[in-house]
Symmetry: C2
Subunit: 349 residues, 2 copies
């Protein structure tokens, strides 16, 4: 199959199914009694469906990567994507719950060019709205029963989902704890992103395959896990060397905020005078100036940080594709997931 | 059966089962990898098992009312309480998750005479630790499968649990939204406490009965629901007229913080000069002084607020006992739950 062909198929799949996922999510987020509708209105605002006054809006939304992975994995494993829609919607709601709380935890004023939920309604109501979306994600997953998935498999899906929630919070715990640690090992960093980023993508692939009653659940999980690791490392590279005009974030934003990303941790973990100079520059209390920034980036390059991160992103991307080959899947389904992998890892924003 | 006999039974039941519930919770909260143990340490601190340094502590804990209701309902419905332990532990963890987030939302510095979790670790880590305990509650509930409950009933239990989470957040949403509203109807107040307080007690009774495969699930649910309403109104009465020496809270604390409780809302909803004077006193911006307080309390009494609240607490308490009579239960199980009801509603702290 040619690249172009494969992209067309991917595009058609996404165009067909994203509205279905969206429709299912809307139906479930709107199921409320008037007296508590204000709580659901907060969710609708966060999801980009309404503005702060509750009027319909079509704000920029996420790429819906996770729910697409659910449906593509279900299709690849020989299932009917329609049956997996409740799992896709649940995964997307879970992702969005985590964004609502992350924004409070990071004190981020904007997301997708709009004020974050907590900036609009205050922290107290936003914490609770996040909890509500977390709860709703669980009830939405139960929709698998209504779409005809047998009890034992619904229970298995719920266990995958629960464990993923725990891994997500563990990853978030580590990420926040890095802020107050002067030294973080590369191993601990990988554990952090395995929780914070890869756990939900791994669960997405596994859930789709589970709905299809696949025998390759572990391989699907590994596909999502490796894709997630690769995706996060790529994100780290863009946060350091990305083009401001394309990413929409100020260039080297991760360096300016002293985020402990893979390239930074790799550079800091080296020995010798170059690494020591970088360590003292990075661990100083003072703000990082424009001149510092240029020196830090040059030093990181010389220490091989960019090369290491690019090799890691590629390694995990290849491992994702390898895991995909090990699944017992239909050829056109594998092509869709490969295309998704190539797109995510080749992205520059 | 005499009162004394019934109390002895209650006491024996609680003494037998609370350590079992506690043991199950400890086992599940301690199941962590060293790298993320710090997150579980936050949960152990909140639960009163460890101090801020992570050293063992036996801090005052809650009354464990909810998990006891789970086990007593299971016993009353003819089941083996042991089989319901995962549900009891899940309900207690869910309750504690909500306390962690409530303390942040209310900015409460202390709980049970210790600094609240967020006061120790900051809001960001505490929000996430709450999310982790919420996630853990779900995985713990799944333990019902290991204790031999069939898949269909585990799924039913999970649905009860999920819906309860949503009702809890709806109640919390309403409670917080009352702070910025000048007028709240008694109906809306009842909807708020049905979510914030009664939903989890209703779920506790229903879950216990569900594990025992009872045919009286609705009546058990109603028992917990009415018990919860009665419990909350009793709490409102204590927050207004309770004895400081017994409750441990400053007397009339709910009035001083202008909380919208049933007695206050009842008094404010009356008509005539007495009610109007109270409305203007209560809705003023200025702080409530000691002199105001005496006037407010006297005015509330004259408007029948105390009488109304006491009648409401009694009404819902009786409705709880009535629902209990409608369950298909063993006599000694009903006696336990009646005793619990009598104790909770006769309490003065």
């Amino acid at each position: 199959m040619t690249q172009a062909n494969s992209f067309t198929r991917f595009d058609t799949f996404a165009k067909t199914w994203i509205p279905e996922i969206e429709g299912y999510m809307r139906k479930r987020v709107n199921q409320s009694r008037p007296v508590v509708d204000g709580m659901y209105a907060m969710m609708r605002y966060h999801l980009g469906w309404e503005d702060q006054q509750g009027l319909p809006e079509h704000a920029p939304q996420g790429k819906r990567v996770r729910p697409l992975v659910v449906l593509m994995a279900c299709f690849a494993a020989g299932g009917d994507p329609r049956q997996a829609i409740p799992a896709a919607a649940a995964v997307e709601l879970l992702h969005n719950f985590s964004l609502i709380h992350d924004d409070i935890e990071d004190q981020s004023p904007t997301r997708r060019h709009r004020p974050t939920l907590y900036s609009c309604v205050g922290e107290a109501q936003a914490i609770n709205a996040g909890d509500a979306m977390f709860s709703l994600a669980h009830t939405v997953l139960q929709g698998l029963s209504e779409s005809g998935v047998p009890d034992a498999r619904v229970l298995a899906a719920r266990q995958v989902f629960d464990l993923t929630c725990l891994r997500l919070t563990e990853g978030q715990y580590l990420d926040m704890s890095f802020e107050t640690q002067t030294s973080v090992s590369l191993d601990t960093y990988m554990t952090m992103i395995a929780g914070k980023t890869a756990a939900l993508l791994a669960a997405s692939a596994q859930l789709g395959a589970l709905v299809a009653d696949s025998h390759s659940l572990q391989a699907f999980w590994r596909f999502g896990h490796e894709l997630g690791l690769s995706f996060q490392v790529q994100d780290d590279i863009l946060g350091t060397w990305g083009d401001e005009a394309v990413t929409g974030k100020s260039s080297a934003s991760d360096i300016l905020t002293r985020k402990k990303t893979l390239p930074v941790l790799f550079a800091l973990s080296q020995t010798g005078p170059e690494a020591e100079a970088l360590q003292s520059l990075y661990n100083r209390q003072a703000q990082i100036t424009h001149d510092d920034l240029a020196a830090i980036l040059a030093s990181m390059e010389r220490l091989g940080a960019r090369e290491h991160a690019e090799a890691a992103a590629e390694h995990h991307g290849r491992a994702a594709l390898q895991a995909l080959e090990e699944t017992d899947s239909r050829h056109d389904g594998v092509a869709l997931l490969s295309q998704l992998t190539t797109m995510l890892l080749g992205r520059n924003a």
